[in-house]
Structure formats: structure tokens, C-alpha cells
Amino acid sequence: MTKRLSLHTRTTPAGPVIELVGELDHHTAPEIRAALPALSLNPGQQLVLDLGTLTFCDSTGITVLIAARNHALAAEASIVLAAVPDRVSRIFRIVGLEQVFLIYLTAQDAEAAWRPTAG
Amino acid sequence: MDVRSRNHVRVTGRTGAPVVMLAHGFGCDQNMWRLVVPELERHFTVVLFDHVGAGNSDLTAWSRERYSTLDGYTDDLLELCRELALGPITFVGHSVSAMMGVLAAAREPEAFAGLVLLAPSPCFIDEPDAGYRGGFSAEDIDELLESLDANYLGWSGAMAPVVMGNPQRPELGEELTSSFCRTDPEIARVFARVTFLSDNRADLARVAVPALVAQCSSDAIAPPEVGAFVHARIPGSQLVTLNATGHCPQLAAPEETAAAIAAFAGAIQ
């Protein structure tokens, strides 16, 4: 099976930004999910998942987003999504996730909106 | 069940001409006939097919129950005749397929204009008490099954012999796929048992259509005396001994083989 998803991580003062490129489904989800625990997050930081180049996401792919959310909440950090493609937001609507994640148009918007929480 | 795709049927040659159906034997597939087809196509409608379990047949159609006896193959053969509805055909059966032709013609003679039995053997195992010599003992057949197993690793999967799309040999043609002579080991084992353990000596006398027994001058699998036996038991049959040696005259001596088939099929149709 050719790899159809890659993951690019960069760090900003606001916290890590993960860009998911490709298809997020049951072939690719386990690998990404396995990479999450190693992701360092400090309390008050914000994890941004940039989905601008995500071409596909099925119900199994959703587990990755939820695992990321669980990871962020456990670290007392927050999680937001950026640049959610139409296709993916349609699935979000079906599974009712659009109410669970804060969504920004772009990763830059998400970074700009972040405010450090007072000690 | 679509019989045509189940048996990967191909019909070529002259439309409306007498029909010759070519049935391959144990081990390979319809590509066995590729050297005789060009000649036969000039005179006949030629029907080629793969037995279920071989070549490009539908492997999902294979079951141990149906294909543990020659009857399953014979049923297939008669279904093919009905499906194609080409009228009485000349059936050319190589090796074990010759006996499928015998069984089918005994059951539905009206479907057949004639039978060509190429390197046939009604029974491979000797029966000394009956004075019959098939050429092999039961132990020999067990040994063949071991040989199949010994090449199981090599014949399955990625370690297959260098047969796939060899660019230096375009003459092999597209139809010659990697499947040639490679069979699922499980299927091969069952087919080997059917082939080498069947005894159809008693069925020969039931053939009531014209028959040609074509044997090779030297054949390790079906020796000349076996061909003579078949000829003697099928009423009114003809016997021709080809100059070809080995068990596969359609490969070793395609012109001679095609000529024998054409002469017989042309005369009876």
C-alpha cells in the first residue's frame, strides 16, 4: 500500500501546528495516532491541526482528531482545527464534530487568535 | 454462473465453419494449444478454454467436491457445449481431458461430431492381474504429488519462474500470462489425483461417435501400448502414431498435430 498521508509538524510560540497531507483513513490513521503521545504540549498551549491539504477523512480518520483532542485536554492545552476542507466539514457535520472543535479559516488565523492563559 | 467467464472461453477462427474445441490437460492451460491454433483457425471455428482451477478460469468456481472426479469436469464440458450452442463439435482432449471427452460423449453423444484423443490414458496405474499396463504404480503417483509439493514454494507467489511479460519475447503474446502452468498447489494436488487415479477403461466402449486416437511415438506418460488399448476398446476408432515424442505433441510437433486434427475433423463434419 503506498503511503497516502504525511504529517508535517512545526512549532510556534502558541504551540505545535500539525499539517496533515493526504488521506486520513483506516490505512493511515494508526500511524498518526501512534505518533501523538510523543507530541510535546505545555499547559495553556494550543495544538493546531491544519487540514488544508487533507483530501479525505473517513470515520476511522476521525479517531485521530479525537485522540489528538484527548491528548491536548490531558495536557491542559487546547485544540483547534484550521482550513477544514468542504468534504471533511461535511463528515464533521454528519458525526456532529463541528460543535466539538473550534475551527479557523487558516493556521495563521488560529495562531493569531491564541492568547496565553494567565498563570 | 457465467460459463464463458468461468472457463475463460475464447472462440476464434472461421465463423460458421465446423467447430473444434481444444481441452488442455493436467498442469497447464489453453496456451498449450497456441502453436496449433493458427493452422486450425484457417479451417474451423476454434473454441479454447481453461478448466476450472487452471489458467484464467474463475478460481472462485473451484470446489473440492465438484472437481474431485472427472464428472465435475465433464459437467463443465457439457455446459460449455450447451452455452455456446455451436452444434455438434469435434472435441480434442489432451491427456486427462481425452477421458473427459469420452465421458461427455458417452453421456450426450448428440453434442459431438467426433473425438480426438491426444496422448490419452484411461488408467495410469498398472493392473497386472488384468494384464493392463498403464505405466505407473500407485507409489509413483504419490511421488508426483511430492514433486508438486517440492515446487510449491517456487510455483506460488513472487518466486514464480521467469515467465512474466518477458519483453524480449513479444512473440509470446499478451494472452500468455504468468498463470501458465502455475496452479494453486491445493488445486493442483486435487487435479493430480483426478488425473492419475481415475480409471475409465470401462467407459471407452460407450463411445458411439467417430474417434481418433493420436499418440506419440514415445511418451513417458502415455506409452504406445496404452494408445493401442484405447483404440482397441473404442468401437470403430482410428489410431495414428505421431512422429512427435514426449507427452505434448501440440508443443513438440504442432504442424503434425494440427494436420492430424484437421484431417479427422474435416472428414467427419
Binding site: D25, H26, A29, R33, F56, D58, S59, T60, I62, T63, I66, A67, N70, H71, R90, R93, I94, V95, G96, L97, Q99, V100 | G25, F26, G27, C28, N31, M32, S95, I141, D142, E143, L144, L145, E146, S147, L148, D149, A150, N151, Y152, L153, G154, P161, V162, V163, N166, R169, L172, F180, C181, F196, A220, I221, T245, G246, H247, C248, L251, A252
Partner: protein, 423 residues
């Protein structure tokens, strides 16, 4: 090591071993092609096209205990083989060689004159003349005694692995069956049909459905999809199925049933490997006044049902805002009610159908999609439960290997009164 040491070493050798060196060197120079052929560490054999032996090297003669005159011009290659090997040669080896001009690495056994057997690996090529016409067959034979023992082990391991795989597939099939009802309940006045498409025989999938009686002439049904595959997903599927049935008996309000399941899953699975499902639960009540059935559907983040009307129209039945089950402590469940009149058909499905690749055979990445699915319903309406499921199965067949996730479909249909059905 220093340069000086090298020179010293070289100098010492010049004194001690010039004779050996020179003998070796001249032996190398004098090694004739003929000698190499005769005494090569493998057997060489040339035959005519019919297999009659024309030339054979000393190595092979020695292995088998023959004199050249025993073989050349007298015997066929296949006569050197065991009987089983000879059959194999005639039915596989020779045809392959004829067809391809070469064949390599075939395991056979040769018979020696003393009756012993020599396991060998045989490679043959057909030598051709200038015009491409085959002239003779060249065969190389390697002693494979050591290898054969190893291969026997390998073969045994392979067969054991095959048996294990069969066992696993049988187990998977059995497990899959336990997750689905053996037969759907027979609901008076309702035509019901379901289908489960298994995407992989090696892995149990996470789709599930059921239809079962509840108190006072009502019926419960559900269809859902647990994320993921394999045994872990199957455990969730099993939990979901039994929780739904138990909860429905306890309190058949669809929102309460799904709320119950949400609580159970949310407690059970959290953290880095979240498990959730999307599910539709329906409560079916016969409509004594208007005929047909009154259906209350609750959706927990599941793709909407497709409603195909008796008048030939079709549309999706939205259940907006329902959230997937098991992730959030207080998932929102949305409901909708619909009256299923005589001639109407309701189809529930999992996303394995809509996410199937439509042209997998040619490596395409196109997915079927919701729009095409709606068009499918519009083309099908009006229909029956059996008609719907058979059409879906046909659709899945056209996708072939493109259906890479399990797919469950459940259709319910209210038959028209008998007199109408005739028309």
C-alpha cells in the same frame, strides 16, 4: 598497518613460496573451457529438443554413477528423473520450457545407478540458431541436498502458515457472524432485508445491525459502524450491540437508548486509542389509523437514511446535529420521525458504501459519494426491501476491490396491499 610491514611481508613470501604461486598462476592460465565444463561444480547436460541426451559433463556422470556411453544418444533427460519427477517434467517443466525458452530453479530428484536419489535444482534454456529456431536445450543441475532439507522445513512452515491463515479466516468469519443477527425478526406488515459486505476475510469489521421486537407491538432496529477493524473493534461492536438491545428493552425512547450507549462507551474507551461508533436507532410502531409504520429515528453522528417513496421520489432523511457516540460525555442525539406508508422503503447504510472507490480496478481514487448514492435511490424508487438490497449488492459488485471498508445495509419496506402490488 604501515607500508614497511607490507614490504617485509611481500619480501618474505618471495623467498618461501614462489613455486606454489607459480603453480597456481599457471593452473589458472591453463584452465581450459573444456576442463571447466567437465569438472564444474555443477552438472551440465545438453539435449536435443525432444530431451535425448547429447552431451553430459563428468561432474554429473560422477554424481549419478554413469559412463558417458550409458547416456549420450541413448537416454532422455526425463529418464534420469524419479517417476514422480518425470510426470512433473512432462506436465509442467517441458511445456514451460517450450513456451518460454527457459525455466529456472525447479526442484527435481535424479536417480543414481545405485538407486539413491539426488535432490537437485534444474535450470534449462533453449539455444536458438541465427533465425531464432530452437536448436537444443542446455541444462544446469545443482546439487540441492542441503538446500532440500532447508526447503522441506520452509515448506512445512509455509503449510503451517497456510493452515493458520485458514484458521484465522474461519475464526474471523465466526466472530463476524456473532456480531450480526442470524436472521432478522419477522415484522408483520413489513418487508425487511439486510446485507453485510465483508471487505477483508482476514479482519473482522465493525459494522452492525439488528431488528428485534419490543414491548406492546413495537419494534427496535439499529445499524451502526464502530470505527476501526480487527478484534479490538469487534469487542466494541459486541458491547454496542448488546448495550443497545438491553437499553431498548429497559427504556425504548431512541434518545435514551443512544444516550445509554454513549455513557457506556465513553467510560470504557478514552485516551490515545478512542473507540466510538456512529449509529442510527429506530423505533417502529404500526400506524393503526393510516396503515404503514410510524418510525422515530435517532442518530448519533451516522450518515442519514435514504427514504424511497411509493411515488418514485427519493430523498435523504436528515438527522442534523447528532454526535458520534462514545467520545463526548454528553453527546447530542438528534431525532426525526417519519411515516412509512405502503410502498415506501427506508434504507440505512454505513459509509463503507459511500466511501468505496468506484474504479479501484484501474487504480482510480474516486469515491462513490453521497450524491451518487442519492441518485441511486432516485433511480431505484419505488422499490421493496429485497429489491433495494439486491440493487446495493449489485452496486458493491461493480466496485469490486474498491469497497475497502465493511458495509452494512438494512432496508425496511411496507408492502402495498395485495391488490395494488399486482398492478
Amino acid at each position: 598497518m604501515s607500508k614497511t610491514n607490507d614490504e617485509e611481508h611481500g619480501g618474505a613470501r618471495e623467498d618461501e613460496g614462489p613455486v606454489d604461486d607459480r603453480a597456481q598462476f599457471s593452473a589458472l592460465l591453463e584452465d581450459s573451457a573444456e576442463d571447466l565444463y567437465e569438472h564444474a561444480p555443477c552438472g551440465y547436460l545438453s539435449t536435443q529438443l525432444d530431451g535425448r541426451i547429447a552431451k553430459v559433463n563428468t561432474t554429473l556422470l560422477d554424481w549419478l554413477g554413469y559412463q558417458p556411453e550409458d547416456l549420450v544418444g541413448r537416454k532422455y533427460f526425463s529418464e534420469l528423473l524419479t517417476v514422480g519427477g518425470r510426470l512433473y517434467h512432462e506436465t509442467h517443466f517441458a511445456p514451460m520450457l517450450r513456451m518460454h525458452g527457459e525455466i529456472s530453479g525447479i526442484a527435481l530428484e535424479l536417480k543414481a545407478t545405485d538407486g539413491s536419489r539426488l535432490p537437485v535444482l534444474v535450470t534449462s534454456t533453449v539455444k536458438k540458431g541465427g533465425g531464432g529456431q530452437p536448436l537444443l536445450i542446455r541444462t544446469t543441475i545443482f546439487d540441492a541436498r542441503d538446500r532440500r532439507a532447508y526447503e522441506t522445513e520452509l515448506l512445512r512452515a509455509r503449510q503451517a502458515a497456510d493452515r493458520e491463515r485458514d484458521r484465522l479466516q474461519a475464526l474471523t468469519t465466526t466472530l463476524q457472524k456473532t456480531l450480526l443477527p442470524p436472521t432478522l425478526a419477522n415484522v408483520p406488515g413489513l418487508d425487511v432485508c439486510a446485507h453485510y459486505h465483508v471487505a477483508s476475510v482476514d479482519e473482522v469489521g465493525g459494522d452492525f445491525y439488528d431488528l428485534f421486537p419490543l414491548a406492546a407491538g413495537t419494534w427496535g432496529m439499529f445499524l451502526g459502524d464502530v470505527c476501526g477493524k480487527g478484534v479490538a473493534a469487534a469487542a466494541v461492536t459486541s458491547l454496542a450491540r448488546y448495550t443497545l438491545r438491553a437499553a431498548a428493552v429497559y427504556h425504548p425512547d431512541p434518545v435514551a437508548v443512544l444516550g445509554n450507549l454513549n455513557t457506556v462507551l465513553n467510560h470504557e474507551y478514552n485516551g490515545a486509542d478512542p473507540r466510538f461508533c456512529t449509529v442510527v436507532f429506530g423505533l417502529l410502531t404500526p400506524d393503526r389509523v393510516h396503515g404503514g409504520f410510524q418510525i422515530t429515528l435517532a442518530s448519533g453522528g451516522h450518515p442519514p437514511a435514504l427514504l424511497m417513496r411509493a411515488d418514485g421520489t427519493a430523498d435523504i432523511l436528515p438527522t442534523p446535529g447528532g454526535q458520534l457516540i462514545g467520545v463526548l460525555p454528553d453527546a447530542h442525539i438528534s431525532t426525526t420521525t417519519v411515516h412509512l406508508a405502503p410502498g415506501d422503503t427506508l434504507l440505512l447504510h454505513t459509509d463503507g458504501l459511500t466511501e468505496a472507490h468506484t474504479n479501484a480496478a484501474i487504480g482510480g481514487g474516486e469515491r462513490y459519494g453521497d450524491d451518487a448514492f442519492l441518485d441511486f435511490g432516485r433511480a431505484l424508487a419505488p422499490t421493496t426491501a429485497t429489491g433495494t438490497i439486491s440493487a446495493v449488492r449489485g452496486l458493491l459488485d461493480t466496485f469490486g476491490t474498491g469497497v475497502d471498508d465493511d458495509t452494512a445495509v438494512l432496508a425496511i419496506h411496507v408492502p402495498r396491499p395485495h391488490s395494488d402490488e399486482q398492478q
